[in-house]
């Protein structure tokens, strides 16, 4: 009980403190609402990336296996929605800057990382939607999903760190480190390639 309270409290702090710091950023006073919303969608998407690997591992207390899977799917859909709001809001704020980013012709290196992460997220979501119809081996699915989510996490972390935005530097680095840690832990624990090895061993 104490352990589960501690885990949820820790997660709450890890995700909500950076959002709260962003909410008090002095930059907000010089931005229009649509730009502010776009920025927050980005911060929320980053926080989302901390929860997803933990849900994949099934280590969040108080959730049944089925609830864990459902939450993972819902948060995946929310991630896509957050990206759409982020890019859409930036587009409304400054169309040429977003066109440069989407066409990989931006002068700012971080935008390319964000766009790469965006396409990886869209791909992961699209593959999840057609997973049943794909009829591929679960191992292949897991490897594919792991590669895509790794691109999402790494791309997003680089994108976030290079940006001078509303998040505090310390809270941003801390949240990015936690996202990387959670991803690494999930890959190490779930060993998505395990099925491959087992199969090749039985074949030998």
């Amino acid at each position: 009980m104490i352990r589960s309270v501690a885990i949820w409290a820790g997660l709450g702090i890890a995700t909500l403190v950076p959002i709260a710091i962003a909410a008090t950023s002095p930059l907000l006073q010089w931005r229009e609402p649509v730009y502010i919303i776009a920025g927050f969608a980005g911060v929320i998407a980053l926080a989302n990336l901390l929860l997803q690997p933990l849900l994949a591992m099934g280590v969040l207390p108080g959730l049944s296996a089925q609830q864990t899977r459902r939450t993972h799917r819902i948060l995946g859909a929310l991630l896509v929605a957050a990206i759409v709001v982020h890019v859409g809001g930036l587009w409304i704020t400054s169309p040429p800057d977003v066109i440069d980013a989407l066409t990989f012709t931006s002068p700012t290196p971080f935008s390319a990382w964000g766009v790469i992460a965006m396409w990886a997220a869209f791909s992961a979501a699209a593959l999840a939607l057609i997973r049943k119809r794909l009829k591929i081996r679960p191992t292949l699915w897991r490897i594919g999903h792991t590669i895509l989510v790794s691109i999402i996490a790494i791309g997003t972390i680089i994108h976030a760190i290079l940006i001078d935005g509303t998040m505090g530097i310390t809270s941003k680095l801390a949240l990015c480190a936690l996202v990387a840690l959670a991803l690494g832990l999930a890959i190490r624990t779930l060993r998505p390639w395990a099925g491959l090895k087992r199969r090749s061993t039985t074949q030998n």
Partner: protein, 160 residues
């Protein structure tokens, strides 16, 4: 308006590179100063023909630089430079974020404007030379620190 599109910029760049490697413009290079190329994203949110002003908005931040002629480096007087940025007083697209100034006899321009603040990930300014006598150039200098209260950008213009 004859803003250079990305295509024309790339085409001009490629053509220059080809002629340069072919040795065709070696005399010009030997003579000195190469023209400043337009920067990526430099023309973003450009609103042509902003008025020449003493100061953009309330001021407090200084944008300055020099304008010289390509080749011999002669300072150019009376050259119109337009400046805009995301500042404490408005977005890049806002009309009141734009203003223009003219270079003095030594080719120097200097315009006071509101403090530039980070937007789209970097604190940066935009400058344009777009008056026709020389080839159009758009610059997008980035501030080393968002706390800086000045920024410089220099133009070397190629006669059109």
């Amino acid at each position: 308006m004859t803003n250079p599109t990305r295509r024309t910029v790339i085409a001009t760049g490629a053509a220059t590179a080809l002629t340069a490697t072919g040795g065709l413009i070696t005399p010009a290079r030997a003579q000195g100063l190469a023209p400043t190329p337009t920067m990526r994203g430099g023309s973003n949110n450009y609103r042509p023909d902003a008025p020449i002003v003493d100061k953009i908005g309330g001021g407090g931040f200084w944008m300055s630089g020099t304008v010289r002629r390509a080749g011999d480096g002669t300072p150019l007087e009376g050259i119109r430079i337009q400046i805009w940025a995301h500042t404490t007083e408005g977005h890049e697209r806002d009309w009141h974020s734009h203003g223009a100034t003219l270079t003095d006899a030594s080719g120097v321009f200097r315009l006071e404007m509101p403090q530039i603040v980070p937007a789209f990930g970097q604190a940066h300014g935009h400058l344009a030379y777009d008056s026709g006598d020389f080839e159009t150039v758009f610059l997008r200098p980035v501030m080393p620190s968002p706390n800086d209260t000045s920024l410089t950008a220099d133009f070397v213009l190629q006669p059109a």
